[in-house]
């Protein structure tokens, strides 16, 4: 029900991001979704990839501070107001959102969300008829 996200700690230094993508490209790993949270000194890179375990091992081997995080991925039909609706469902049961990022998915939008209760988030979204993205699912 939950998706595995790769989370990386990156110093704000030139070339670090390029280095991550180089490692992934050498392992023929496809990045489905990608987001960076940045501060003045460091950034946190969050990614959904097609072969999480391979990517995790490769990045660790290159010395990156990386681990996997459980997140919820769901499809949002490509129409105005749909994200709002989804978030309203979560708000109604007092779910707190840590972060959210979105990407294109088969002509629709998909969102990756991390909340204070991922499981409840996933079941709630499912109940309201949202399609949850599963690990291993073709994500592009």
């Amino acid at each position: 029900m939950l998706l595995q996200q790769l989370s990386l700690f990156l110093e704000n230094k030139t070339g670090r991001l390029a280095e991550v993508t180089r490692v992934l490209s050498e392992k023929h790993i496809n990045i489905a979704a990608f987001s960076i949270a940045d501060t003045a000194d460091f950034g946190i890179l969050r990614m959904i990839v097609d072969q999480t375990d391979v990517a995790l091992a490769a990045l660790k081997q290159q010395g990156f501070a990386v681990h996997t995080t459980d997140v919820v991925g769901f499809v949002i039909p490509n129409q105005p107001g749909n994200l709002y609706q989804a978030l309203q469902h979560l708000d109604s049961i007092a779910i707190e959102i840590e972060y959210l990022y979105a990407f294109a998915h088969n002509g629709d939008a998909a969102a990756v969300i991390k909340t204070n209760d991922n499981k409840l988030t996933a079941t709630t979204l499912k109940e309201f008829g949202y399609h949850l993205l599963e690990a291993g699912e073709q994500l592009d």
Partner: protein
């Protein structure tokens, strides 16, 4: 003003005679009481009463900091421990501190040379001496304290830190003399500005600044900002502490109290004496010390020396302002910082690795400390606010341990250079 005119203005001929006698007695003490030196003398074929004059100094073995570490803690003491009444130490990045042991008479000598130093700065019993050097194992605080007490001044043992309160005390108690490191003096000035206090509200007229090298530019800056005359005091724990040499009000070199400490300037490569006026490494022989007498101790400080009589009337040799010093202890904004303190903070926290790097810089004449800390892979979070909370936690712990604020920067694991020998914990970018 001269505290001890007899000693400080002695004719050189008479001074050399005194030095000869004292050196001879000292070498004999070392020979009979300190196995480390006896071995060195025997290796060179020197007998206890072979040395009769300071001209023969150059034949005697040199002492280096490593010798002190090798004989840690009390191996170089020349008296039984029952004779030692005080211990001081200056810590180092490589672990073992440098120890200084004092007999009752050594403490008297120390008070004497600090008393001379204060008088040289124009300070007397009418003054209120505010000592912001750290009190403790560091020699700064107690050293200045004893000397100021000896001349009968009113002493305020403020120690380091708590800057705003210090200013309040200076204001309320009418401090006329400030004794601290030059960078702390600037920090005090900066804080005064911050809280809207004008230097004219204080009665400060003299500053006794030392424990770190400082430039003429820095002197001007401090004098202008604090409305006082800034004077340089020199010393080191190994020799006795502050008061080995001191500037007089003419600000024309630091007078070495040569009846107690024999100065030499050596070429750091050849270890041969250089002519007066030429820069070399300062080397001291303590000729009156009982607790831990040192023979030709290499200070690693670079300076030059003159024996021309000063306008103030003192005949003692003068050292020019120091060009540099490599020492383990960092002095940042007047506070002593040991890299090991940072290590202990990080080790106490489960979230961080004890891999760190201190970067000290001087921006607008103010010391800035930045600490790079490696995040622990297992703790690293995917949430910015948790990492920021971690940064704040480290910062708070560092501040409460060091007594000064630092910028904390989290870095990726294993990005701080590792070493198999001595770890490089500090990058000091401050100009010397």
């Amino acid at each position: 003003m001269i505290w001890n005119e007899h000693a400080e203005c002695m004719e050189r001929e008479q001074l050399i005679k005194l030095q000869n006698e004292r050196l001879q007695a000292m070498v004999s003490r070392l020979y009979y009481n300190v196995p480390f030196y006896r071995k060195k003398f025997q290796e060179q074929g020197i007998e206890a009463n072979d040395i009769r004059s300071v001209d023969q100094l150059k034949y005697l073995p040199l002492t280096i900091k490593q010798d002190l570490r090798d004989n840690y803690p009390f191996g170089l003491f020349a008296v039984p421990q029952s004779e030692i009444v005080r211990l001081h130490a200056s810590s180092g990045t490589t672990g073992k501190p440098t120890v200084g042991g004092y007999t009752r008479r050594d403490l008297e000598t120390w008070s004497e040379v600090v008393a001379r130093s204060l008088y040289a700065a124009g300070v007397d019993h009418n003054d209120v001496v505010h000592v912001s050097y750290g009190y403790g194992l560091f020699t700064g605080g107690l050293g200045l304290h004893q000397g100021a007490q000896k001349i009968g001044a009113t002493v305020i043992p403020a120690s380091g830190g708590n800057t705003k309160k210090q200013l309040q005390i200076m204001h309320d108690f009418g401090s006329t003399v400030l004794a601290c490191t030059p960078s702390y003096a600037l920090y005090l000035a900066e804080t005064m500005k911050e809280i809207g206090m004008d230097p004219s509200e204080l009665k400060l007229r003299r500053g006794i600044f030392g424990a770190e090298p400082w430039t003429e530019e820095m002197r001007k800056e401090i004098e202008q900002k604090l409305h006082l005359k800034a004077l340089d005091i020199y010393g080191l724990t190994e020799i006795i502490g502050p008061g080995v040499a001191m500037e007089c009000e003419h600000q024309n070199g630091l007078h070495v109290f040569e009846d107690h400490f024999l100065p030499e300037i050596l070429d750091p490569q050849t270890l041969q004496p250089v002519p007066y006026g030429e820069v070399g490494e300062l080397v001291f022989t303590t000729i009156t010390k009982e607790g831990m007498p040192l023979l030709r101790y290499r200070t690693r400080d670079l300076t030059s020396m003159t024996i021309e009589k000063c306008t103030c009337g003192r005949t003692m040799a003068r050292l020019h302002k120091f060009m540099g010093r490599t020492d383990d202890m960092l002095i940042i904004r007047g506070v002593n910082v040991f890299p090991s303190q940072v290590e202990s903070v990080l080790l106490e926290m489960s979230e961080t690795e004890p891999h760190y790097l201190l970067i000290v810089d001087r921006v607008n004449n103010l010391d800035i400390l930045e600490i790079l800390v490696e995040v622990n892979e297992s703790f690293f979070s995917d949430e910015v606010r948790q990492l920021e909370a971690l940064t704040h936690k480290i910062k708070a712990n560092i501040e409460s341990t060091l007594g000064i604020s630092a910028k904390i920067k989290l870095v990726e694991p294993k990005t701080i250079e590792r070493s198999e020998g001595k770890a490089k914990r500090v990058i000091d970018k401050r100009p010397h």
